[in-house]
Symmetry: C2
């Protein structure tokens, strides 16, 4: 190969057809896969394969994607969603997801990882789709099928580290720096010597998924571990490129950051010192809801509890805006001023919040049925962009556990021990499933047949109903809540008020029935949703007239763990 | 001691008078000095001393300080400025400095370091003034004396690391983090657990120098090594506190960052995503001038050369605004748009640029007398805030070498070897002075008696004349240049144009006489300064009439390495 500019080596090889396998030898090293491999048919240590992505017959030419205000995400792990664990096996589920009312399927990372079972965060070939999920054309076919059913597809990409096994890229070039440390090993080099080319690699990776696979959005894993003190941050350069592509292709493209920084800079425009992300996950929302529902106080849940964090999060986007955090042992965050609510993606469960528990218990294993409906209500009826975690909609009973299949036995053992140590440090005595065991992976597979039975069927219908309500009432179009109040202990009143329609949602997190007095503008109010209604397998309706003319104060007997949505379709007055 | 909140331990001891010495024992450790010690009479390993700073009789109640647009800095190292190397010994020099025309004496760091000779960047007690320089009251007395002569005093403070010897603070609390790495050892903990209290320590340190010692400004060493990814950066918190103190005290206080980031965010207001620094050093200015004068191309000088970087720097504040840097092997910087020129502090020499050369040669050892005047001209007549390095004004011949006096012999040896290795790596074969040798320190002392002889006396008069011209013509009040042009190879035309006065300065960096045609607005122009004039020991005046009515193009025969300042006092027309 001939040495070119900026550390690139080039060679032209004739007569290479798709399907050809190849490796590199670096100054006499062993055979190494291509860091930019498009496919690793034999896994992370094997040769790369030449793939021609241009031959797929796309049928989504008119597809434009969804704006964030119209979006509802559905996070899904390819390997555990179906028995087969492939892209192809997802396709029969698309119609059901469309019917459920989500708009965007978010795939957990698919970059080639070691073995066949992994969450995806141990990926080492950012351009190669996981071989056990199917071939690259199968992935194209899946996205095309989703688009043909009116569903968008988002992809989780990891630009803060690479996995520990099959990680050869450091032999090629200075992809890593030892100036910073991540919890998962060496930090990627985004601001030191030669970092332009490292940035180029990952920016091209983002554009590759968007352009060649027609993904509609990227979820950027743990941007707080992308260390970059440069004057033009990598993430700003990435968002600039994504915006340019979106405008060239004439379809929606979104970048959504998983950020633990609570820093408004992540969401501010690039020309205003920002990183230009379209949206950010708000973990504060999850923690606020989770602590209210479970009463848990360990780890980062110590920073939450009661209705106050939830109220503040609903009003602002996140809770920690500069206050002292007991868990972090420092002040945290700044105020997300001037942002619309659709800049935040929220959930009551996700792969981390479920999977990083010792046993990977879902919310359905922790709280009762009424609480699951309440969790659904506060999430789907929030002003934010809701995200469901696969199976949440029908109360899946399988856990989502931490699983790996490292071929390197020492590494596998280290991961197993590390997991045990991690939970032992928290005083956990219940044992931890072995991440390396096939049984752990198998136990985490979904059982969609549950939806044929109660109460799963009702829960799914309930989610479907909530999502329809959100869509029909265009909740996200309000952009911001009109206000939240505490009408009673463990209760929240959330109001969306406009000239055309007014909505008042009363959430009750208490464990006993409670009589709640609340104040809403006078008008012809009707009950739109009552989670305690027997139609939703509730304990009985909350005691408010089905339709009433509100004076300034109203009173309702709320069932435990329930919520009530009232609406006044016409112009409401007063207040 | 009693354990209180947030990791603080407290005890009250009765009947302790100023002068009492004390140490702490940490869970049975050896005696340790106080991290917040105000004085270390026996150096970095000895006991701390109780000091009452409130007894000093300040006489500067009416002192208000200088705005940056009126400021000219003079960087000075206490230990080498005088034979005695003390605060007290500086006082007799104040009148001369005032007469020279600088406004602000900037002391290199004075926080207690090991031994008696050190630049100051190995300080380990941020609140304790170096014992070999005098007692804290001597420092107060020096600042008071400066103020009484109409001079401000700035202090260089180091908030990015602590020195390697006598560094016990890590035994007290998590002052350090291993998440980031600095070139000088462990990074200070500004964004991890317990970082609020580390921030508090350094913010209180800044306020302490400003409040108790009446410093007018702080120069923040290497802010690019203050690693802090938090939503409210330490530096923003620091500038917020400094601004509040300035407003409470009713006098000017400035924070000036040494930043290698070329990031406008450092200078933007806090409420606009910025760190709120008042000014930043512009190393690009130094490098642009240095390469033009010396033709050097090694190390970071490879990124400069020719008049283009100087023109761009004069117009913008710094040169690297996103271009690829060969030295850094990546793109560097962003555009410092919307900032006035007085936000940048510039020099043609400073402790780093001189002292980090193998032999510590000053510019006077590298270039001829005419070039020294040219360097003075481009710096003092720039739109920026000029800074002189002690002795530069009279062409001091002593080098400023790297010196240390570590008591730890192994450390001393490591520093010596490290220095040798560093320059050997650049191919330097000339030997490196031993940092640990007393002779190295002694060789770096200034010889003020040089000013009695030529050409030193003339150079000093020349600086004085330039500084007076800058002051009288209020160059900084133009805020921005009206333009720069290349009228010929190695020549720059710099113009300040306003309705009331117009100034055109023509700088010629070429080594041969050159006839230069340039264009200035028509008007009654006179020669204000001619660096080649025999009155400044030049080769003879540059051939332009002393007073002339400029048409659109003018012609002048410039001497090598010279500059000419033309001014039109009345209203200029045309252009």
């Amino acid at each position: 190969m001939k040495r070119g500019e900026l550390g690139y080596y080039r060679a032209t090889v004739e007569d290479v057809a798709p399907g050809a396998k190849y490796t590199y030898k670096l100054d006499g090293s062993d055979d190494r896969p291509d860091p930019a491999s498009r496919y690793q048919p034999e896994g992370v240590h094997g040769p790369s394969e030449v793939v021609d992505l241009s031959t797929f017959a796309w049928t989504d030419a008119t597809w434009k994607g969804f704006a964030l205000e119209d979006s509802v995400f559905y996070e899904l792990h390819v390997g555990t969603y179906t028995p087969a664990g492939t892209y192809a096996a997802l396709i029969p589920h698309l119609a059901g997801l469309k019917e459920l009312g989500v708009t965007t399927i978010e795939l957990m990372p698919i970059a080639q990882f070691p073995g066949g079972s992994n969450w995806g965060y141990d990926g080492v070939y950012p351009f190669a789709s996981q071989n056990t999920y199917g071939r690259p054309h199968d992935l194209q076919n899946f996205v095309n099928a989703a688009h043909s059913q009116g569903l968008a597809v988002a992809l989780d990409v990891v630009y803060n580290h690479l996995g520990p096994e099959g990680n050869y890229v450091g032999e090629y070039a200075p992809y890593f720096t030892d100036h910073y440390r991540t919890p998962w090993g060496a930090a990627l080099n985004f601001d030191r010597a030669h970092s332009d080319e490292v940035r180029h690699f990952f920016i091209q990776n983002a554009l590759y998924w968007l352009r060649e696979f027609h993904f509609d959005a990227l979820r950027l894993d743990a941007v707080h571990s992308i260390f970059d003190a440069s004057a033009k941050p990598f993430l700003a350069e990435l968002s600039e490129n994504a915006a340019a592509l979106s405008s060239r292709l004439g379809r929606q493209i979104q970048l959504i950051a998983e950020s633990d920084l609570n820093d408004v800079r992540v969401l501010r425009p690039r020309d205003d010192c920002g990183l230009g992300m379209d949206a950010s996950w708000s973990d504060d929302f999850h923690h606020s809801v989770h602590t209210l529902l479970t009463g848990e106080t360990s780890g980062y849940y110590a920073d939450f509890g009661g209705t106050h964090p939830l109220k503040m999060t609903l009003e602002n986007g996140w809770y920690y805006s500069g206050q002292y955090s007991r868990y972090r042992k420092r002040r945290h965050g700044n105020r997300p001023d001037g942002l619309t609510a659709t800049r935040f993606v929220v959930c009551n469960q996700n792969h981390d919040q479920v999977g990083n528990r010792a046993k990977g218990d879902r919310l359905s294993a922790l709280v009762d049925f009424e609480s699951l409906k309440l969790a659904a209500g506060i999430t789907v009826l929030s002003p934010f962009v809701p995200m469901l975690f696969m199976g949440e909609e029908y109360g899946e009973t399988a856990p989502f556990q931490y699983f790996t299949s490292h071929g390197d036995k020492d590494l596998g053992e280290a991961v197993r021990r590390g997991r045990e140590r991690e939970f032992a440090a928290f005083g956990w005595k219940g044992g931890v499933p072995d991440p390396q065991s096939e049984a752990t992976f198998a136990a985490s597979k979904l059982d969609h047949s549950l939806t044929e039975n109660e109460p799963h069927r009702t829960l799914r219908r309930f989610y479907q109903n909530l999502l329809r309500y959100r869509r029909e009432r265009k909740l996200a179009c309000f952009k911001h809540l009109s206000g939240t109040e505490y009408p009673a202990e463990k209760a929240l009143l959330v109001q969306y008020l406009s000239a055309d329609v007014s909505i008042a949602a009363l959430f009750h997190f208490g464990d006993s029935p409670s009589t709640i007095r609340f104040s809403i503008p006078s008008g012809a109010w009707t009950v739109a949703i009552d989670s305690a209604d027997k139609v939703w397998r509730g304990n009985g309706t909350s005691a408010v007239a089905k339709s009433f003319d509100a004076t300034s104060v109203t009173q309702v007997s709320m069932q435990p763990r329930s919520f009530l949505v009232l609406e006044s379709p016409g112009r409401s007055s007063g207040r």
